[in-house]
């Protein structure tokens, strides 16, 4: 018994200008970034897992896709402006009497270190892993604008 991947026929492939445009646009951005070296940080690092980092007024958010990783197998540590994500993806054995048709998923450990652009309050970092998607919320360190009065001499 075999399972054959269904391949859509090239001839039956309809041209979708909208998605083609999107693809082209993303490709152009990528090339532009490489050429101008303008966004050093926007190039993916070759380390698992890939990260998305966003910010709003109060927090930094670090997100990673970690399918099949148990939340208890993820360890997050902080040091200065650095965030370290350690973990292991385990894939349990499925019994001896099974035969594999495809094996694309890997079980291994991972370690990723990333730097946030500014200080965060390490005591209030929160992490949630839901449906294999890790979200780490790092509150920005209170650096409120202070007004300094200039007194007349």
């Amino acid at each position: 018994m075999t399972i054959i991947k269904w391949r859509p026929g090239r001839s039956g492939h309809r041209f979708d200008p909208f998605s083609e445009m999107q693809r082209l646009q993303r490709e152009m951005h990528r090339i532009y970034d490489t050429l101008t070296d303008s966004q050093e940080a926007s190039r993916p690092a070759g380390v698992y897992p890939h990260l998305n980092i966003t910010e709003d007024e109060d927090n930094y958010y670090v997100r990673a896709e970690l399918p099949g990783v148990n939340p208890e197998d993820i360890e997050i540590t902080t040091q200065d402006n650095d965030l370290i994500i350690n973990g292991e993806r385990k894939i349990p054995l499925e019994g001896e009497k099974v035969s594999y048709h495809r094996r694309e998923r890997e079980a291994r450990s991972f370690r990723r270190i990333t730097s946030l652009p500014n200080h965060f309050d390490s005591g209030k970092v929160a992490a949630v892993c839901k449906n294999g998607l890790l979200t780490i919320t790092l509150p920005k360190a209170a650096a409120k604008a202070r007004q300094i009065d200039v007194k007349p001499a």
Binding site: F18, L51, R89
Partner: protein
């Protein structure tokens, strides 16, 4: 690089599929497929997909698995670094065995879909004894 560590891979985008009604990116999930005497099991990595957003369709012997990922960020967030994109997961397979459609079970745990497709009675292997003539 330490070869005991997970290697990072770009998500595979689906290519050459018919036009979709919703605009957005479509990715091909990594899968494990294995077979025992009684059933075929499929495991698919679909991070960010909640169990209620998975759809499984078996028509004739064509199996379609897809999962929708909701928006991750709020309007107020701005990207500082983007290494991965999100979208729908979609993959199709042609099964060569008869499946007992009513007994299919699907569960989602930690972003991994586990689909168990029990073989129909007819498709289970039968041992045929060869008698000496």
């Amino acid at each position: 690089m330490n070869d005991k560590e997970l290697q990072v891979r770009d998500k595979r985008e689906l290519e050459g599929e018919g036009e979709r009604t919703k605009p957005g990116l479509v990715f091909v999930p990594a899968v494990d497929i294995f077979e025992s005497e009684a059933e075929i099991t499929l495991l698919a990595d679909m991070p960010g997909v909640a169990s209620e957003n998975v759809s499984i369709d078996l028509h004739e012997n064509q199996l379609t698995v897809s999962g929708e990922v909701g928006l991750l960020t709020s309007d107020k967030e701005e990207y500082l670094l983007q290494e991965f994109e999100t979208g729908t997961f979609h993959r199709q397979f042609t099964l060569s065995d008869r499946i007992d459609q009513n007994a299919i079970t699907a569960t989602v745990k930690n972003g991994v879909l586990r689909l168990v497709l029990p073989k129909a009675q007819k498709a289970k292997p039968r041992k045929i004894e060869v008698r000496a003539g």
